[in-house]
């Protein structure tokens, strides 16, 4: 199948995703990832901590762990779709970061993404594919933040690349 032999033009791929996102917006709400990830965090924490999680106000005042939260299944679907695409195009293989600096950057980067999503109540997906197209003030605030952050991150990234 052609789709699995050649790389798809990202403009075509994102145009198709945008059309589907409009349907999702009409049915349940626009595409988002951070909300589902937060709920997964709550469910994982509940699994390990049991009833102790009830003593952390965030998990009953902001996000009450609920496995039936629809946003979780967007992320799980993305994982499934990516596995199908990678296996069908023979692009699935295990790869690991090679240098210690990569491990450190990924660890710090992951932590900052998690803290940032929860502080902002939004992720990059809801910024670009939800809030801003809804002309929500939060979208413009978030875009100014992510552009400044990406610029700052790029400075660090460049320095590490040059150092490596």
């Amino acid at each position: 199948m052609e789709l699995f032999r050649k790389t798809l033009d990202p403009v075509i791929a994102l145009s198709a995703i945008a059309v589907l996102d409009i349907f999702l917006f009409l049915i349940v709400g626009a595409w988002t990832v951070g909300g589902g990830e937060t709920m997964m965090t709550g469910l994982i924490a509940q699994f390990f901590l049991g009833d102790t999680i009830d003593r952390i106000p965030f998990w009953h005042e902001v996000f009450k762990p609920d496995a039936g939260y629809w946003k979780i299944y967007i992320s799980l679907g993305m994982l499934f779709g990516a596995i199908v695409g990678a296996v069908a195009s023979k692009e699935f293989f295990w790869r690991f970061p090679k240098r210690l600096s990569e491990w450190v950057m990924i660890t710090v980067g992951g932590l900052l993404m998690g803290i940032g999503i929860r502080l902002a109540f939004v992720c990059n997906v809801s910024t670009f594919f939800g809030l801003t197209p809804e002309l929500n003030l939060g979208g413009y605030l978030a875009i100014s933040g992510i552009l400044a952050g990406a610029w700052f991150g790029s400075l660090i990234y460049k320095r590490v690349l040059e150092g490596g």
Binding site: W59, M78, G114, W151
Partner: protein
């Protein structure tokens, strides 16, 4: 719609997105990082086109009272949070979408980033439980609150209500601005192709 049906719709949507992103190598991190560092715009153009389609689509449906827009107060926390997020995604080399997609390709670095995204979220849940900021949804008022650094709630719906002008009008203006950016990138690419 039942909760089960919502989850099913979300899973089908996510599966198609995962497949298309994997096959196109689209990455939101690259859309910003590559434009800033390397002056290449492959992903930036795709992001702009998607935003144009979404802006027209969302505001058209909002104009007739359809759709499910996000509703919550916004404030300084969106700027600070996405600043941290933007820094983190460049360091991790992946955003929320590409961590899941690269994980599906067997990239352990993406799985590691995902694990620490969860850890970061849990750490913030502990911090929030101490500072109670930004306000929980139940404490949001929709109004400006200087002491809580909140600007309230405003989107295409509220614009339409306040001005009496259909939301699609504002959507067309935003789409035109996005198209202007897209054209500027295309012109820049054409100019650099002509000189090389």
């Amino acid at each position: 719609m039942s909760a089960l049906a919502e989850c099913l719709v979300a899973f089908v949507f996510g599966s198609v997105v995962g497949l298309l992103v994997q096959r196109s190598r689209f990455c939101n991190t690259a859309a910003l990082r590559d434009a800033m560092l390397f002056k290449t715009f492959r992903n930036t153009k795709a992001l702009l086109v998607a935003m144009m389609i979404l802006t027209i689509g969302f505001t058209a449906f909002i104009s007739i009272g359809a759709g499910n827009p996000m509703r919550f107060d916004v404030g300084v926390n969106q700027i600070l949070g996405l600043f941290l997020f933007g820094t983190g995604m460049v360091l991790a080399g992946a955003c929320t979408v590409s961590t899941w997609v690269k994980a599906g390709e067997g990239n352990f670095g993406a799985i590691w980033a995902l694990i620490f995204t969860f850890v970061g979220m849990f750490l913030f849940s502990l911090i929030w439980s101490y500072i109670y900021w930004p306000p929980a949804p139940s404490a949001m008022t929709g109004e400006l609150s200087v002491e809580r650094l909140q600007f309230g709630f405003s989107n295409a719906e509220t614009l339409q209500e306040k001005t009496g002008i259909p939301a699609i009008f504002f959507g067309i203006i935003q789409a035109a601005v996005l198209y202007g950016l897209y054209r500027a990138i295309k012109r820049r690419e054409a100019a650099s192709a002509a000189t090389s």
